[in-house]
């Protein structure tokens, strides 16, 4: 086992490199992903090593990127598309929801579309409009798509390779605010031999008093909340959903049956968000174990605000701790 310390971005880069080496049909497509290495440098060096036919600088047209990726997949390729920023995915929304998600179904299983769409998402980086959004549930609401989000470098490394190997289309949401955080990554492990990371949640921190559910960028926040709560003598269990579709509420329910309390946190707006779905399912499955209503902490029903206000909009340590206090007050 070779463990290397690397950033989240480098972990994805390394995973992409492994996938390109492993399967000649894997190819990357997106805007500025070649010589520049992507605006976040996630594809740094890959065009140089694998050539412009496999690491393709596309025209500046998101629907075109996803639409041509569908055609390439029909011809036997495994395209990995990069959408430059979350807020720029909507020109491709039609191709993703009406075409990519449904091809396997409408062909009665005859056609597979192994397409991965990488989306840097989430806020906290002081960006301009359309560069900080969290649109993951818009895709989770469409059957046929897998929607996943890694929360640390090791998972990013494993999940990107498993996503590329999946015969299903995968929406791969990368928490851009975590791109430069470092972690240990076992780069020798074969992710394709490992357990699936595309199907289930994981318990990252054991606790007894409250179950705190997060995914992507808010997982690190949740772990800080657990630390802070521990200093006040409260034991918080942190569940990293990893996947929004499928949504693994079995792991959450198992936790809530022990803790009796649940808080869900995400950057996306609370209204109709992942938290709403988790809360509904936990209420159905764990009603008699609940000591308090399931609380949600997330973005407001406003457009993503200006950068100078984003830290009030985002569910930070204080607001999540407040929710933990409130469920414990019951």
């Amino acid at each position: 086992m070779t463990t290397q310390r690397m950033t989240f971005a480098k972990a994805i880069n390394t995973g992409l490199r492994k996938a390109l080496e492993h399967d000649p049909k894997v190819m990357l497509m997106g805007e500025d992903i070649g010589a520049l290495g992507g605006v976040f440098r996630v594809t740094d060096g890959l065009a140089k090593d694998f050539g412009g036919d496999r690491v393709v600088d596309t025209p500046l047209a998101e629907s075109g990127i996803v639409g041509t990726a569908i055609g390439l997949a029909l011809r036997g390729y495994r395209p990995v598309c990069e959408i430059q920023f979350d807020g720029f995915i909507f020109p491709a929304f039609d191709q993703i929801t009406t075409q990519l998600s449904k091809m396997h179904y409408r062909s009665r299983g005859r056609l597979n579309l192994p397409v991965v769409i990488r989306v840097p998402y989430g806020g906290g980086i002081g960006a301009v409009e359309h560069h900080s959004e969290s649109p993951e549930v818009l895709f989770a609401h469409t059957a046929g798509l897998r929607v996943v989000s890694p929360s640390d470098p090791q998972d990013a490394f494993t999940m990107i390779q498993q996503a590329i190997a999946s015969p299903d289309p995968v929406m791969f949401f990368e928490p851009k605010g975590r791109y430069w955080e470092k972690g240990d990554v076992d780069t020798d492990a074969d992710p394709l031999a490992a357990a699936s990371t595309l199907d289930g949640a994981r318990v990252l921190r054991s606790g007894t008093d409250v179950t705190l559910v997060a995914h992507g960028p808010t997982v690190a926040t949740a772990l800080k909340v657990a630390d802070a709560a521990a200093s006040e003598g409260r034991s918080v269990e942190v569940v990293d959903l990893r996947t929004i579709s499928p949504l693994d509420t079995t792991a959450v329910a198992e936790s809530v049956r022990r803790t009796g309390r649940c808080v869900v946190v995400h950057e996306a707006p609370v209204l109709y968000g992942t938290g709403a779905e988790v809360a509904a399912r936990i209420t159905e499955e764990c009603f008699y174990h609940l000591e308090a209503p399931v609380l949600r902490v997330g973005g407001f029903h406003t457009p993503y605000p200006v950068a100078k206000l984003e830290h009030e909009y985002l569910p930070g340590l204080d607001r999540v701790l407040d929710a933990v206090d409130r469920v414990l007050a019951h």
Partner: protein, 375 residues
């Protein structure tokens, strides 16, 4: 007929006039020189069979056997002419009205009806006949065709000089689709990648109720040069000219010459679909004008004059069409309701916990009525 704008008949490649006279074109006559009487009779037969099928399907919708039908009436020459220029390894991405092209790919026409019967969202294995499933969102599939063509390039199946290997991709779309962003993006991606693609636009003059003048100020083929895509306007009711221009475009694609935009200027003689009522937005005089330019009639006139179309052959095809009609009716009526459980199948290629759980719940729910009333 106007003299300018998107509905002009200026600049159309034509080899067979509306009155059935064979005319020459310096570039395109050689493209059809090898078509002997048997081949020409074959084109006539194709068009007659497709029209009979189309008529039967319309009748089946009226009888309540189909939920909807989109007629290709009037567009048989554009579809059969272009389709017969294809090689087996070529791949087609149709819209939803390309029944004539389906026929030329060897797809049994009845297979098209599962979708319109409401028993399947597709209905056939596209890889069997290199004819993709119909796409109902206007223009989306033109990008799939472009991507597929980019894959063909990466497979080294372009410009080898091997006629059994070099491959072209053809996508069909209408005048309305040319206003869609996806079609314009397809032209951009195809152009910059020099993709082996033929973008075959059937300008049938009507996007449901909107005339082509609501989509463009210029002939649709005039858009191609702006993208760097060679373009040609062809008389879409002339099966020979459609064959010729498509053959040229396919050759360019297969040899590595890149994409071509073909505008086949034709007319949707029927309604948009069986749910439409053209009398609300176009005149009977216009329909009469185009009825006199019927794509089958002009080939009939020509082949009768040359003696290629014998009474015996016509009778043979008539019997074949009758048999196709009978087979179509029988096939549709035998297409039963799918099992409810199929609703949950093939949502994903790999197990998905939410779908599995919902399916299990639903099956249990259904089973709770065991012994009760059946649907």
């Amino acid at each position: 007929m106007t003299t300018s704008g998107p509905l002009t008949d200026d600049g159309l490649v034509q080899l067979l006039t509306p009155t059935g006279e064979r005319v020459d074109h310096p570039d395109y006559t050689p493209r059809v020189a090898h078509l002997d009487d048997e081949a020409l009779r074959g084109l006539w037969r194709d068009m007659v069979l497709v029209r009979r099928f189309d008529t039967e399907a319309t009748a089946l919708q009226r009888q309540g056997e189909l939920g909807l039908w989109a007629q290709c009436l009037g567009q048989e020459a554009a579809q059969v002419g272009s389709g017969r220029a294809l090689a087996p390894q070529d791949y087609v991405f149709p819209s939803y009205r390309e029944h004539g092209v389906a026929h030329t790919r060897g797809l049994d026409l009845t297979e098209l009806l599962r979708l319109f019967r409401g028993v399947d969202h597709g209905g056939w294995d596209p890889t069997d006949v290199n004819f993709h499933l119909y796409t109902l969102v206007i223009g989306s599939h033109t990008l799939h065709a472009t991507g597929y063509a980019m894959g063909v390039q990466r497979d080294g199946a372009v410009g080898t000089g091997d006629p059994g290997r070099d491959t072209a991709v053809v996508t069909y779309f209408g005048d309305g689709a040319t206003a869609q962003g996806d079609v314009n993006e397809a032209l951009v991606f195809a152009a910059v990648n020099n993709a082996p693609l033929v973008l075959f636009c059937q300008n049938n003059q009507w996007a449901i109720s909107e005339p082509t003048t609501r989509q463009a100020r210029v002939p649709l083929a005039a858009r191609g040069p702006g993208f760097g895509v060679p373009s040609v306007r062809v008389d879409g009711n002339d099966v020979l000219a459609c064959y010729a221009v498509t053959a040229e475009a396919l050759e360019r694609a297969r040899s590595g010459g890149g994409p071509t935009l073909v505008e086949a200027f034709t007319y949707r003689m029927g309604a948009h679909t069986t749910s439409d009522d053209p009398s609300r937005y176009r005149s009977a005089a216009e329909e009469d004008y185009w009825r006199q330019r019927d794509p089958i009639d002009r080939l009939t006139t020509y082949l009768t004059a040359t003696g290629a179309l014998t009474d015996a052959f016509r009778a043979e095809v008539e019997a074949e069409a009758d048999a196709l009609g009978e087979r179509t009716r029988t096939f549709v009526r035998a297409l039963g309701r799918p099992e409810t459980s199929t609703m949950f199948e093939h949502v994903y290629a790999t197990p998905h916990a939410v779908v599995d759980a919902e399916r299990a719940w639903f099956e249990q729910y259904e089973a709770s009525f065991a012994g009760g009333e059946q649907r």
